[in-house]
């Protein structure tokens, strides 16, 4: 997965980002990967899966897996209410959903506004960060959502298909 780091980060710098909240932190993902945003409901649990995989839901006839990023990043106790939002992503023809605490807005960032992410060595692996975005007083954590969702440790897709999707 590391071989295409440089290319990936060069691609995703500067552009428009959808920002959302996970606990008290603000994150941003490439708007072009987002298919739609919808409420959280009727997710069918799949047994024997990690806790952050909430299950699958019916998106107009398509079965879509739902990942709770709050659980994945260990950001507090997740609650599910009418404000809980699912961001539906379209990554290489695969549709997936991520649960977040709330969507804020869409922000355009220039290359200068994006700083390289320091090595936290923490819960959020820097491999999945494209950088930190600075807008006045706010700081956005820019996620490489594609790499995150297709990575092996999320076990969202079969090992065999992982490479073809990530490549």
């Amino acid at each position: 997965m590391s071989h295409n780091d440089t290319r990936e980060s060069a691609d995703t710098q500067s552009g428009e980002f959808l920002t959302f909240a996970l606990g008290n932190e603000e994150y941003g993902i490439d708007i072009l990967k987002v298919q739609e945003i919808r409420g959280y409901d009727a997710v069918t649990r799949i047994a024997n899966t990690p806790p952050y995989i909430k299950g699958v839901m019916n998106l107009r006839g398509t079965i879509v897996p739902i990942v709770d990023l709050r659980i994945r990043f260990k950001l507090g106790e997740p609650s599910y209410d009418q404000f809980t939002v699912v961001i539906i992503l379209n990554l290489h023809g695969r549709t997936m959903g991520v649960v977040v605490d709330g969507v804020s807005d869409v922000i355009a960032l220039t290359t200068e506004q994006i700083r390289p992410a320091p090595d936290f060595g923490a819960t959020v692996d820097t491999r999945y960060l494209t950088g930190l975005g600075a807008i006045e007083e706010r700081m956005l954590i820019l996620l490489d959502i594609e790499k995150l969702m297709t990575s092996g440790d999320l076990a969202l897709i079969d090992a065999g298909t992982e490479e073809s999707v990530a490549a």
């Binding site: 009727a42 997710v43 069918t44 799949i46 047994a47 899966t49 019916n58 006839g61 398509t62 079965i63």
Partner: protein, 706 residues
């Protein structure tokens, strides 16, 4: 698409229409091939010939428009030849059918190259040359035939020497009506001989002898052709003379002669030629080509296609419906949207059901209509995905024909039940396994003609492909009348490969051995089959489709392979069961029965497992709670409901909390966006819009063993 040649000075971008042309051309080629394979050169009707001609003509027109000049060149030759044939200027010969088939192959290759699917450059010039040579040879042959007809020398026996002179006189006068008697009746031992010049077909002449003797005993020979192809005189008996005679009849028969009805020997000469006859025609044609160089002859003037052709359209077996071409994605999209509609309708119905029927009668009536319409719509949409299995079958006549001639065997392929419908997804996936089975039948099953004759069987073997609905599944059989499987050989091979075999195994068990990987009893590996890869793949592919395969065989009598498949992969009948808070669907096909588990019938066995006694049978209990942990309720195995399921011949009792109902479910892929989940074969959408997982029973049973 680099190989596409641009249309001449065309200001319009034609490339957007290429796809349409490719698909149409493919369709026409397919139609042409199936027509050619079914045509009897002796009795080709003008409808058939016109249909072939039209197919070739359409391809020519299209390729010309789009600038695929190589295809235009080949179809031009095809068209010229076909035009002469359909106008009765030339008789149709088996050689022509062969050449036309090869030309079809060349066109397919060219088409594939234009589509960028292949880099092979087919020998277009070769086939054009061949067709031109055939055409010239035939024109020559036709023009040298005497205008008054063929000269026949006829011999017939007079039974017991008792001659009824009146009958002979009648015969002579009847013969005089259809031609010219060149010599009077001559006596030659028990036989009477005569020479006749006639335009009538042999069959017609033969029938005139019905009053004098057995028509089968009449020997009719073409006097003129006899001399040039004298090598047939060595063949003993009237039967072989008959073959030779009919064979050469193609060259000499005037086109307006009524087509001879196909007798059994005639049929042999049709598509699957008798070996000696095939050899002879092959020998004759090059000789004729040699005799005249193409350049000596004035180029055959291709006759333009009659654009005002008002002939009735001829339909072949497959194409008798007007149809439009729709991509599968569109159909699948339609099915998905319909699923949404069904769910919305169910949701509305649920809410409306709480209304007061007296106040909202019209609304409730409307809802009832909506429900009925939705159900009708669902049935219609689902039927779109169903295709007749003839789509698969139609590729096999050609394959069998080519295989048989390559192996020097005579094989007749019969197909039955082409109209049997099954899901498109299955149709595509069943083609390869069937190809394998048929190839096996032709290669390993059917014996060489001399072996068959020695065994008292007809020299021509038969392979039958039959499809039929049987309950909720479709049964496809591949039946051959070949030598059958060799039990001893398979057992020996099984031992050699270290499989668990013993002499007391039943035949059925022995036959299943051939589905083991790497198993082949072929003595020699041919390029057709025999490498032993295949049957295991066949079985696996069929199992993946949710089907089964069985073999029946009798030594010396043949083999029957039975493939059983579910009708569709898109919809299954399911039993929805509750396990804790979760709902799962169990395919109804696996469910044998369900019963309330009484604590008396459930017994624990060492190691924490349970068995349940069902009518004197102890079945292992598989608790879905254990396999899918995490739901709220977790009752004792002594309560709940036992669902007896059978998979791979083994029965198990699944313990669930409740039975929710039985319904048709639309199978959705989990893997499309997620990954494979152990024990789950797919997912479906329930009436309330929620998702339920469909259980994979065989895998669950295996999982429960660990």
């Amino acid at each position: 698409m680099s190989s596409v040649q641009s249309g001449e000075s065309s200001p319009i971008d034609m490339s957007q229409f290429y796809q349409v042309f490719f698909e149409e051309a493919e369709e026409h080629l397919g139609e042409m091939e199936s027509l050619l394979l079914s045509i009897d050169p002796l009795a080709a009707t003008s409808d058939e010939l016109n249909a072939i001609f039209r197919a070739a003509h359409s391809i020519k027109g299209g390729s010309g428009t789009f600038g695929f000049t190589d295809m235009t060149a080949v179809t031009h030759e095809l068209e010229s030849l076909l035009d002469k044939v359909r106008k009765n200027e030339l008789p149709l010969t088996p050689d022509m059918v062969d050449a036309l088939l090869v030309a079809g192959d060349v066109l397919k290759l060219q088409l594939a190259r234009h589509r960028g699917q292949s880099d092979d450059v087919p020998d277009a010039e070769g086939i054009c040359e061949r067709i031109r040579a055939l055409m010239l040879a035939e024109i020559e042959a036709a023009s040298t035939a005497p205008s008054a007809g063929r000269e026949l020398s006829i011999a017939f026996p007079v039974p017991g020497g008792a001659v009824d002179q009146a009958a002979l006189d009648d015969l002579a006068s009847m013969l005089a009506q259809i031609g010219e008697l060149l010599t009077p009746l001559e006596r030659n031992g028990d036989m009477r001989t005569l020479r006749l010049r006639t335009r009538a077909a042999n069959k017609e002449v033969r029938n005139l002898f019905a009053f004098v003797c057995e028509t089968d005993a009449v020997i009719i020979e073409d006097a003129a052709q006899d001399q040039s192809y004298g090598f047939f005189e060595d063949e003993p008996g009237p039967a072989s003379k008959e073959i030779a005679d009919d064979g050469f009849g193609f060259f000499a028969d005037l086109p307006d002669a009524p087509p001879a009805a196909a007798s059994s020997t005639d049929q042999g000469y049709g598509l699957f030629s008798d070996v000696p006859a095939a050899a002879s025609t092959a020998a004759v044609v090059p000789a004729q080509q040699h005799g005249r160089r193409a350049s000596d002859q004035p180029a055959a003037e291709p006759v333009r296609a009659g654009r005002r052709d008002t002939d009735k359209t001829v339909h072949n077996a497959q194409g008798d419906n007007a149809s439009i071409r729709v991509s599968v994605e569109k159909v699948d999209q339609l099915i998905n949207q319909l699923g949404e509609l069904v769910i919305t309708q169910a949701m509305l119905a649920q809410q409306v059901s709480q209304f007061d029927p007296l106040l909202y009668q019209n609304l409730l009536n409307g809802m009832a209509d909506l429900e009925r319409n939705t159900r009708d719509l669902q049935e219609s949409v689902m039927s779109i995905r169903m295709l007749p299995i003839g789509f698969v079958f139609k590729r096999f006549p050609r394959m069998v024909r080519d295989l048989a001639s390559k192996l020097g065997k005579q094989v007749q392929l019969n197909t039955e039940g082409e109209a049997t419908e099954l899901d498109k997804g299955l149709i595509e996936k069943i083609a390869d396994p069937l190809t394998h089975l048929i190839r096996n039948s032709v290669d390993h099953g059917i014996e060489m003609p001399h072996v068959r004759t020695a065994a008292g069987k007809p020299a021509q073997g038969s392979v039958t492909l039959r499809a039929a609905h049987q309950g909720g599944s479709i049964l496809i059989e591949v039946i051959d009348d070949g030598k059958g499987l060799d039990r001893e050989k398979i057992l020996a091979k099984g031992r050699e490969r270290g499989l668990a075999v013993h002499d007391a195994m039943t035949d059925a068990e022995v036959w299943m051995l051939v589905f083991e990987a790497g198993f082949s009893t072929a003595d020699a590996i041919t390029d057709v089959s025999g490498r032993g890869v295949g049957m295991d793949v066949v079985k696996r592919n069929i199992a993946e489709l949710g089907g089964t395969v069985e073999i029946e065989s009798a030594s010396g009598y043949g083999t029957r392979t039975m493939v059983r498949l579910p009708l569709t992969l898109a919809i299954i009948d399911g039993m929805s069961v509750g396990v804790g808070d979760d709902v799962y669907i169990i395919p109804l096909a696996t469910v044998v029965e369900s019963l309330q588990a009484s604590s008396r019938a459930v017994r624990s066995v060492a190691g924490g497992g349970y068995v349940v006694e069902v009518r004197d049978e102890y079945l292992p209990v598989v608790s879905l709670h254990d396999i899918f942990p995490g739901s709220v309720r977790n009752p004792d195995a002594r309560e709940g409901i036992m669902l007896v399921v059978e998979s791979e011949g083994v029965k198990n009792a699944f313990l669930v909390d409740e039975l929710l109902g039985q319904q048709q479910v639309v199978v959705k892929s989990l893997e499309a966006n997620y990954r494979k989940v152990p024990g789950v074969s797919g997912a479906t959408i329930l009436g309330d819009g929620g998702v339920a997982l469909i259980l994979d029973v065989p895998t669950l049973v295996r999982m429960s063993r660990h």
